[in-house]
């Protein structure tokens, strides 16, 4: 079956089969992201490829084109990702799906730009990627600047809303940018940021991937913030929750963190201590839009989790990002009616599509404009959507700490 969203894909079942189209991606199979975020991203790409092909591939010019996914391990090293993408260019692979993470995507973006390839960014959220005027990189996901602001918005909507928050941030681009915007949002909502609004750049800044964040926690001990927000990746967030308990630091209302809580690894690393933690996420299964490939968000979740053996309560959202990136590329190719990279790029610029991932539309910098972020809470070891309220599946347990 063809993609319904495509304007020119009228042929449907009668299409003859055309040449296959290659989507190429550097993926992290070993190293820090191997068997973790890198794997989830790869699963998302694979799921997209399989589903797409089962539904008849990409249709244009009266032919249906199957998609081949080509991947190579980048060992979780950014320079290797870039090298792989250059290698793909030799083989004529113009359609690139991003590696996992901001560092890898940042390294690949200029390569794609020079080679005239097109990249769909699934999991690189650092706003820095979009400030260099790259024309060939398009991100389906929301940028880093929204990760903490959405948490603040969710907190402001809760009852009781926090009056004071503390922000701990890792020393990496993604986390610092997220914290910066988050602090502004908190102040706009009338919250007090302790120990100071710039603490995330000094006393509550922690090393990226730190497993000991006690100095930052001690810096806020005694200040009794209502909520502690951790703008960081998994290691730092896990350490923050554990060590806060060790140090007798109890936020009055609860904990929130950016990318860590909506990952199964967060629950496995914290066990019961993960209960009640809020986390911002790129995708939730309650999203209402749908498309003809994956169906709606709930159907995506059901089919994806069955295919790869995940629990529907704990799913890796990175896979949804990946599948959405892959889908956006397919839609653009169909819209362009061609496998010419610049035609596809132009099609991406004007793409407007509703998908299981929500509305996809790119602005001049390549960001998915107006895509909202969502907030989940961990309840009984399951991700529960609590924000925005129209998508909330359950009430938030609030205050989260007893």
């Amino acid at each position: 079956m063809a993609l319904s969203a495509a304007a020119c894909g009228g042929g449907g079942n009668t299409n003859t089969s055309g040449s296959t189209i290659t989507f190429a991606a550097p993926v992290s199979q070993t190293g820090a992201f191997g068997q973790a975020e890198g794997l989830y991203t790869l699963q998302g790409y694979k799921f997209c490829q399989n589903t797409l092909n089962a539904k008849g591939g990409i249709n244009f010019g009266g032919q249906s084109h199957q998609v081949t996914l080509v991947t190579q391990d980048d060992q979780s090293v950014a320079a290797t990702s870039a090298q792989i993408v250059d290698g793909y260019n030799d083989k004529g692979y113009k359609f690139i799906l991003s590696p996992y993470g901001s560092a890898g995507t940042t390294a690949v973006a200029p390569v794609v730009e020079r080679n005239g390839q097109v990249m769909l960014d699934s999991n690189g959220a650092d706003t820095a990627i979009f400030t260099h005027g790259y024309k060939n990189t398009f991100a389906v996901l929301s940028p880093s600047s929204t990760y903490v602001t959405t948490i603040i918005d969710a907190l402001a909507a809760l009852n009781p809303a926090p009056k004071t928050v503390a922000v701990i941030a890792a020393n990496d681009g993604f986390s610092q940018h997220a914290a910066e915007q988050g602090v502004k949002e908190a102040q706009a909502k009338g919250m007090t940021v302790v120990p100071s609004p710039t603490a995330y750049t000094s006393s509550t800044k922690v090393a990226a991937n730190a497993t000991d964040v006690s100095p930052a926690l001690i810096a806020i001990k005694g200040l009794n913030p209502d909520v502690i927000i951790v703008s960081a990746h998994l290691n730092e967030a896990v350490a923050a929750v554990k060590q806060a308990s060790e140090l007798g630091i109890k936020p009055k209302l609860g904990f929130a963190a950016t990318v860590a809580p909506p990952t199964p690894a967060f629950i496995s690393a914290l066990g019961k201590s993960s209960e009640g933690v809020l986390g911002s996420t790129q995708w939730v299964p309650e999203i209402t839009a749908s498309d003809s490939i994956f169906g709606n968000a709930r159907a995506f979740l059901t089919n994806f989790t069955t295919t790869f053996g995940w629990s529907p309560d704990q799913y890796p959202y990175q896979a949804a990002d990946a599948a959405a990136a892959c889908e956006a590329l397919a839609l653009a190719i169909e819209k362009a009616g061609s496998t010419d990279a610049s035609a596809v790029r132009n099609a991406l610029v004007s793409l407007k599509a509703d998908t299981f991932y929500g509305h996809i539309e790119f602005d001049a910098t390549g960001m998915n404009t107006n895509k909202p972020m969502y907030v989940i809470q961990i309840q009984s070891s399951a991700f529960v959507t609590i924000y925005p309220s129209n998508l909330a599946s359950k009430q938030a347990t609030w205050p989260a700490v007893k």
Partner: protein, 295 residues
């Protein structure tokens, strides 16, 4: 002030845990002149073992310690006997490279077996803490610290009072002479490495209990910590690892509070380098093996 006290208290218990990580590493380095880059991987192997025992049999991590220690001892013994002894007389780089390769094999196997997710062993007590006024001392790290102290004292007693200990230190100081005394170096080395692996396993179990671990970033971090601590404390000194661990733990905790950002890490390295320049034998005493006879 109360923040400083809290930081100091946390630094002490954290330092004990760090000492536990380093004690086995320091032993192997001192006795065999081998810098074991797979030490962190062995610790994480122990952590997975304790985690599995907890997951499937509900075994408390402290009760799992003997099982982990014995299993890791046997693994370590076999590694030394079957592999590391093959290049033990080679220049230091070779054992370094061998253990680096070994570490890659171990941690990639773990990653493929258990995936790369962070794991923890959940207990009802480890993340609780003893409140002394405004200062909280976490039980889990306190226990780990006590364990480090007990193990260090025990190891020192073994080394100074038992036949085995004498064999180990004699082999460490002069292998040729030890051989003349009828000590089987192959066996003694294997036992030494086995003990070190067992201690690594114990440390890994404690880390799994008070924090979390994964097969990708934890091993390298632990090996680096052990490396730094062994040098700080003084090589081959039985109490060196503990002292080095405490120094590092307190410095990171208090320094992290006083200095903004992550400058503390830069300062820690500066302290390390200064220690090396001023007192290459470590912060306490003279190194036991400084007069080593190389054969």
């Amino acid at each position: 002030m109360s923040q400083l006290l809290q930081a100091a208290a946390y630094g002490v218990v954290q330092g004990g845990l760090l000492g536990l990580v380093a004690v086995g590493f320091s032993l192997v380095w001192g006795v065999m002149n081998v810098i074991n880059l797979s030490h962190g991987a062995l610790a994480v192997t122990g952590a997975y073992l304790a985690w599995l025992l907890n997951l499937h049999f509900g075994l408390d991590p402290f009760l799992a310690l003997p099982v982990v220690a014995i299993a890791l001892f046997l693994f370590g013994y076999a590694l030394q006997r079957g592999l590391i002894n093959l290049v033990i007389n080679a220049p230091i780089f070779l054992t370094l490279l061998l253990t680096f390769g070994l570490g890659l094999v171990i941690l990639n196997s773990l990653q493929l077996l258990f995936n790369a997710d962070d794991r923890t062993i959940e207990t009802s007590y480890a993340s609780q803490s003893l409140a002394l006024g405004t200062v909280n001392v976490p039980y889990g790290r306190l226990a780990a610290c006590g364990l480090a102290l007990a193990i260090t004292v025990g190891l020192a007693a073994v080394m100074t009072r038992t036949r085995l200990g004498h064999s180990i230190s004699a082999t460490g100081m002069d292998r040729g002479a030890a051989r003349l005394m009828g000590i089987r170096a192959r066996h003694v080395y294997a036992i030494t490495f086995g003990i070190s692996a067992a201690l690594a396993g114990v440390a890994g179990t404690m880390i799994a209990t008070v924090g979390s671990f994964n097969p990708t970033t934890t091993p390298g971090q632990l090996t680096l910590d052990a490396f730094v601590i062994s040098v700080l404390g003084g090589l081959g000194n039985m109490y060196g690892a503990l002292v080095g661990g405490l120094v590092l733990g307190i410095a990171e905790s208090v320094g992290g509070l006083v200095l903004t950002g992550t400058w503390v890490n830069a300062i820690a390295m500066a302290v390390l380098i200064l220690t090396l320049i001023v007192r290459p034998s470590g912060l306490i005493g003279k190194a036991q093996y400084s007069g080593r006879v190389e054969v």
